[in-house]
Subunit: 391 residues, 2 copies
């Protein structure tokens, strides 16, 4: 608890008004005043500033409720650009996103090398290209990356797949582009994406997103904000032990981690050593997906078993957090409803009935764009970045 | 985000000053002003009100820092009474607690019956007796109870051991005693107790308390406040499945729950069916504790195994929340360092090294009083309850 200074109050009120405008397709000054409890004069002053900044414009006249017809205001959603990166295992994707989370440009590059210099060069190449065609002021760069990330310092502590160790990604990008940079774990980014732009949610609500890709992670949103934990690694569920006896060796050094049985890498590994090899080659997710869709019984069995292990881990989350909305994202969701059903059933069977019944467990709404949109949502929600005179 | 009204601001400032006084053994008005950024005049007005309420008094003169020697203020810790209950499986404990968490009176009654009327009568009997001897104004009643609790409505949804189902305990107590009542899960209460009065903690920090008793639950403190989850059941880790294959039947209907292998009830059950019965009777925790302390190899093996299962469940919490301070409370802690070591080792072996190394896992500091002190801490922190003219 701290007493607010005048400058803080001013910014708080400005952000409050901007947030209210963002939450509506259109809104009058009087309605902003009513919703925020700010005075009409304060709202008028703030709106004048927002219009001068080009963030808001007047788009017409609303219906009269007795007196003069009110002028309607709306966010100029393309008045700022957000650059966003999703650094997945096999491919890097970059996008230019507007203030309402609409993707204006998007490009992907396959990752074929694992040397730091070369993967970094790929990051630069994508950002250079996006920047060259971004016509509006660019507000900042948001990056979702796999692995352990120190978000506060913008350091990728350990991303095994990219061979990144203690890489100061934020500082590298800030030096090169002279823009504010946010670096966060891809599962945390996916959670922000689903929270901000996915299925409808109440403000200040809770959400868990399970991002099942090459690795597995979770993003936990508590009261509308990402929960990072004390060390910044909250959501590292990929290394929760779900096979306590005789589990497979995990790349982390332990045995029986969730990633060894429920991730894309686990699936590929499993299908390579089946006693009766399936009729098709299954060395990529796409191949497994085709075999699954084609009805290969062995492949279906392996995929559904992966789903059941994920359900077991999610049951443990349900008991721990009692967050009633859980969303599944990442490449594993390509197995659709049958896989989802396996996850759901095991979650239900392994949870207290009362808790399981109140829990909604569903697929994400953003397809492959969750990480991109989450990284950009963090920028769009840091209102101070949107103003030309930053405090 | 909402604009604060004048009344809210006034209360906020008053609570801020009171909190600052509570956090210090003694403090001057000038120091309060400095720490809170409130003006000297505002602080003087607030302190006058606090003195009139009997909550604060002037206890002497501090060292001069140049000018006039400052008058020192201090909380009158016995100016209010908090009543607190810990409704454990085998015994109900009640206490009168002061504003600094000092227990002024404490009484326990064994629970020998399981009928609702009779267990409730026992609750009333304890509270009647405490009230009869409480000399200061009683602020409210805090109750920590096992089972699923709807804290918002003060309803014990399901406490199997007490045979309580949808019991509106808050309303029952409020009607009888005409006092504000808080009802919460005993593990959540234990967490508040350790947070408020246990090992030192930073304000707004995170803490997980694992309360291993007849059942097992956790209390999760996030940014200084209990996290309840959407349904109020956060921390229900006792029914996380830790034996996925061939686990014992749990009272919840599932198999292999943490409670079936790591709780006091699990221990008693296990020792009853050992192939080679230990040399002593082991039908109570006390008997098992004696056999353990006496070096019975079989009993030691069973106890340490229980600890290892708890460590496995805690590893999953470490990965999920990355909260770096975890405290163990409840009757299982009677097995002391050997048991703690088993919990710690398994937690470390089943977590990412980086996460485990940063996690402090230790025994609680409040002995058997954690639940009592946590329930009273909630009352003491609801400053509005402390004033004669409640808003």
């Amino acid at each position: 608890m701290k007493k607010a200074t005048q400058q803080q109050t001013k910014e708080h009120n400005r952000n409050l008004a901007l947030k209210t405008i963002m939450e509506h397709a259109s809104i009058s000054r009087a309605e902003i005043a009513r919703k925020t409890s700010l005075t009409r004069t304060t709202v008028s002053d703030i709106v004048a500033e927002l219009i001068a900044e080009g963030l808001v414009n007047e788009i017409g006249v609303g219906e009269s409720l007795g007196g003069k017809s009110p002028i309607l205001l709306s966010l100029v959603e393309d008045s700022r650009c957000l650059l966003s990166l999703d650094l997945a295992h096999n491919q890097f994707t970059g996008a230019t996103v507007n203030l309402r989370g609409k993707i204006r440009e998007r490009l992907s590059r396959p990752v074929k090398v694992r040397q730091v210099d070369e993967t970094l060069a790929l990051v630069y190449q994508i950002l250079d290209q996006l920047l060259a065609s971004a016509c509006q002021p660019v507000v900042g760069i948001g990056v979702g990356t796999p692995g352990l990330v120190n978000t506060r310092e913008g350091v990728v502590v350990n991303a095994v797949n990219l061979d990144w160790q203690n890489l100061p990604l934020r500082d590298l990008l800030q030096e090169r582009y002279h823009l504010p940079v946010y670096v966060l774990n891809d599962s945390q980014a996916a959670a922000m994406g689903e929270y901000a732009y996915g299925a409808g949610h109440d403000p200040d609500s809770n959400l868990v997103v399970i991002n099942a890709r090459h690795g597995i992670g979770a993003g936990i949103v508590i009261h509308g904000r990402l929960f990072h934990g004390d060390g910044g690694y909250a959501g590292e569920i990929g290394h929760i032990v779900v096979v306590p006896e005789g589990g497979l060796l995990c790349r982390c050094g332990n045995h029986g981690c969730l990633e060894t049985v429920a991730s894309v890498q686990a699936l590929i590994r499993r299908t390579q050593v089946l006693d009766n090899l399936p009729a098709v080659h299954t060395d990529t997710l796409e191949a497994i997906e085709r075999a699954f869709a084609g009805g290969d019984a062995l492949i279906q069995q392996v995929v559904l078993e992966a789903g059941r292990y994920l359900g077991l881990a999610i049951a443990s989350l349900v008991g721990t957090l009692n967050i009633q909305k859980i969303v599944l994202t990442g490449e594993m969701t390509c197995f659709g409803q049958p896989w989802l059903k396996a996850v759901q059933e095991t979650m239900r069977q392994s949870s207290l009935t009362r808790l399981a019944q109140a829990t909604q467990l569903e697929l994400g709404k953003l397809g492959g764009n969750g990480v991109i949109l989450g990284a950009s949502a963090l920028l769009a929600n840091d209102y101070s970045l949107l103003f030309s005179h930053r405090s």
